[in-house]
């Protein structure tokens, strides 16, 4: 809801969300898939180096999303698959 108000005020917004289908339903403009509800921008269970790379990937994706013109709700998916 905050992201929609920022959009309305003319600020570009990228919403990083683990519950991205909920964000889609609300109608956020740029949605970036996050890892998990308690740790959206990283994964503390990973070794530090992998977590650092994952955090960089998510933040970079979010910055790219901010630079992207969108017409409608658009989902951006950082590369974050780790097999467990």
């Amino acid at each position: 809801m905050i992201s929609k108000e920022l959009d309305r005020a003319g600020f570009p917004v990228a919403l990083i969300s683990a519950m991205y289908p909920v964000a889609e339903q609300i109608g956020a403009s740029r949605i970036v898939k996050a890892v998990a509800i308690p740790h959206p921008c990283g994964d503390p269970s990973l070794p530090a180096e992998m977590d650092r790379a994952l955090r960089r990937e998510i933040v970079t994706s979010a910055l790219k999303a901010l630079e992207t013109e969108v017409e409608t709700t658009t989902l951006f998916a950082p590369k974050m698959a780790v097999s467990s």
Binding site: A18, M19, Y20, P21, V22, Q25, K33, V35, A36, I37, P38
Partner: protein, 434 residues
Amino acid sequence: MVLEMAEFPVTGIQPGAKIVYEAGTLRVDRQEIVDSILQETRIEAAWLEIVAPGDHARITGIRDVVEPRVKVSGAGQVFPGVLGAVEPVGDGRTHRLSGMAVFVTAEYEGTVRAGLAVQRHAILDMWGAGAEASRYSRLHGLVVNLRLAKGLSELQAHTIIQRAAYETAKKLAETTIGQEPRHVETFALGGADPALPKVFLIQGCLTDSHNPHTGVSYYNLPIRDSLATLIHPNEFFDGVFSVNATRCVGYFPITWDWQNHPLVLGLYREHRKRLNFAGVILERIRYETFHGKEVVAQHTANMASQLGADAALIAWVGSGNAFVDVMLTVRACERRNINTVLVTYEYGGKDGIDSPLLFYVPEANAVASTGSRDRWIELPPAEKLIGPYEEIQILSYPGAPLASARGALTLDARDMIVGGVDNWGQENWICNAY
């Protein structure tokens, strides 16, 4: 598995020289119960009070509500894994004192100061608007008040409070042993009529993997991250489900609700009449990734499909993102041609103009609302205050202002009232259109 539930209705509780059930009246030797509770040395004091529906009394600090039951035949005992050995229950005969409950109260501030595991102030009014909001206000109550030793951890406090409540409840029910019940209801699956649809209850169950108590336990085994599992509905009646006894939040069903699950009872009462009740699937919900939510939804629907489900009631426990798991389960079932009815409370905000649900899928085409958990409620001053707190916090953040527990209270949601949220449709609500 055949369970006979023998009912002994309670129409009044009176103090007495010993514990006796006679002609609907339960006489209670309060000293005997207090002495038994005080065998636990970490309880510094215990005192009992009696409340009846309509009393102008407000109870504070409620931690759990328990219906007195005892098994008189069949394997095991009520609350297996908590009070006794883990033995398979749900068979034989169980006695219940209906129309009453043990309300256990305790002052406990906890060690967790913020977030979902923070302590709340659970209250119950036995009269007026507060009573109309809660199913428990219709029960005669034996209120067991505990003063705990200082410095207990969440799990220590939980264990002590729960044991006092469960042991007291069982002790009260034991007075009916050897007596003739007013009524016996028999619960057995099977004997399916092939012309009728095969129906399951899918019980979504929010548990926390990160809090000291997960919220719900099965035979006293905490439910953490797990896939769906099939359970027999008779197990509910003998108390295999237990809850966190340090917290009592309106949208988390407590022991009495699991013992008297209205959807289990409703499906049983329609068994071989309108439907074939085939069992209960317990689905752990509140996975922290969307991936986890999708996996458990698919797995639960697969299990129902392999068991031959034609239809399912889907109910849940809790609040927040766990509802996403529930909606995905509805969709996964519908895509396997299992007809679903979702049973849920609504939000809507204090003025009723916000979104009623957190998340929707188009496949959720049949939803039974159990009313709103939001909306203002005004509670008048209480003539009598029971329980540990003279002052309470309406909001649960650290340092929130204190209000007189005895005075008039204005609440902007129902979750502070024990039984103020009707998760499973226990009540008959009427919706007025404006």
